[in-house]
């Protein structure tokens, strides 16, 4: 059977339609808090159970426990603090407040606690560095003085141009069941697929019933593939190269933290909530720059015998001219001069220059799709 939700039960923090209407009609009576896009989609993820067992933003007990032990205070594995910050106290503990993204009231929050925290400690423990050049650290340094903990209820969805592709855990769970999949391996991605990705996914799929490709949509860096390009590229790859009924594609919105090993655990927990039983942990998973070792994320999983989802450690694939195919360091005996590493950066450069990559690097159909977009990359 598909994975049990993390913490045992799938969280759903949606309110009945009548309650929702009443809250919205009284919205002026609530203190309001502005939140950014990343926090708004955190809220959605809490409400739809992507972050089960969280029912809201962390209180200080859980926050400190996550920093110190990579677990919630009840011992459930949890590695990334899901928090909301404020600059000054304009409401009190015990209040209910409305959280606004732009002008949309996204959620009601029951404020359990307003607390101060140490930004350097936050950065050091989660990101293993206090260097402000690390994007996750920079984000922490930009937060307000206080964090607010408490449970939430979702009132409105955050506008989503890819709603059609954004499945919730209840939906993926039903989908997997309907397809008769008992074991499902999830793949996290922020890229259009090259042949190296395909190799890794298919190597994993060999051992399970289904493959769940789950691209993360959200804030992008300059030079990244645009969301619609990633989706279309995968659709094309599925059409031409994947067995029917053994793979599916759905997106999740999430703001990357770039916390390397800790975030790899978080990515696995999200996919466990979607129902996946296995999770592919890549090379330099969720890393940025040189802050983490290439396989540091693999070691992290040793700390969580109770994670409830099985990591699959599949080495980066490369093309070997002597083997005549895609291989990895474990199975190819040949020296480096025969190896062609498939680099995402190099591929992007080729595509930008209008140069078609060789077929062992990128499927021609995928290249055609990417090329069909006038501007496939974030500018």
């Amino acid at each position: 059977m598909v994975s049990k939700p993390h913490g045992g039960k799938l969280v759903r923090r949606l309110v009945a339609e009548r309650t929702r209407e009443r809250i919205l009609s009284e919205q002026k009576e609530y203190p309001s808090v502005k939140i950014d896009h990343g926090r708004a989609i955190d809220l959605e993820n809490i409400a739809h159970g992507v972050y089960s067992p969280l029912k809201g933003f962390l209180t200080s007990d859980d926050f400190q426990s996550v920093l110190d032990h990579m677990r919630l205070s009840d011992d459930t594995p949890w590695t990334i603090p899901i928090v909301i910050d404020i600059v000054e106290k304009t409401f009190d503990e015990g209040d209910a407040v409305l959280l606004y993204y732009e002008d949309i009231p996204i959620a009601r929050m029951h404020v359990e606690e307003i607390y101060t925290y140490d930004k350097r400690e936050f950065a050091q423990k989660v990101f293993k560095t206090t260097d402000p050049n690390h994007p996750g650290v920079a984000k922490v340094y930009s937060l307000g003085k206080y964090l607010v903990g408490g449970e939430i209820e979702l009132l409105n969805e955050v506008p989503n141009p890819f709603a059609k592709y954004t499945l919730r855990p209840v939906e993926t769970r039903v989908l997997f069941k309907e397809r008769g999949w008992r074991t499902i391996v999830a793949f996290q991605t922020r890229n259009a697929p090259h042949v190296g990705h395909e190799y890794v996914q298919k190597a994993a799929l060999t051992f399970v019933d289904g493959l769940f490709i789950n691209p993360v949509l959200g804030k992008k860096k300059k030079g990244d593939y645009k969301d619609e390009v990633i989706i279309k590229a995968y659709e094309t790859l599925f059409e031409h190269y994947y067995p029917k009924n053994a793979a599916t594609l759905a997106t999740v919105r999430y703001e990357m933290r770039y916390a390397g090993p800790r975030e790899a655990i978080h990515h696995a927990i999200m996919r466990k909530n979607f129902g996946a039983t296995h999770f592919i942990v890549g090379r330099d998973h969720a890393g940025v720059g040189d802050y983490y070792g290439p396989y540091e994320a693999w070691d992290m999983f040793e700390n969580f015998p109770d994670l409830g989802i099985t990591p699959m450690f599949i080495r980066e694939a490369f093309y070997c001219r002597k083997c005549g195919g895609m291989v990895n360091a474990k199975i190819c005996p040949h020296p480096k001069e025969f190896h062609v590493r498939i680099s995402g950066t190099k591929l992007r450069k080729m595509i930008m220059a209008g140069e078609q990559p060789p077929e062992y690097m990128m499927r021609p159909e995928v290249y055609e799709v990417i090329r069909s977009f006038e501007k496939p990359f974030v500018e």
Binding site: G8, H69, V174, L175, D306, G308
Partner: protein, 75 residues
């Protein structure tokens, strides 16, 4: 101070303690407590896994299937 209430003491037979101590030499475990915690978490997790998974109401499941069909995920 926070750690004080986060840990408690349990008793295990001394010979078992010694056996574990020997066993963890040269592994990543730095203390018997760490190892015992690890093993207990593992055992509890595997017990929990066997428990029945949560089910949706039929009505809810039908609604989800409808949406999945509309989106082309199901035939």
């Amino acid at each position: 101070m926070a750690d004080e209430k986060k840990y408690t003491t349990v008793s295990i037979p001394k010979p078992l303690y010694d056996k574990i101590k020997k066993r963890i030499e040269g592994t990543g475990f730095t203390s018997v407590s760490d190892y015992v915690t690890y093993v207990l978490r593992e055992v509890l997790a595997s017990l929990e896994e066997e428990e029945k998974e949560e089910v949706f109401t039929e009505e809810e499941e039908e609604k989800v299937k409808e949406r999945l069909r509309a989106l082309g995920y199901l035939d």
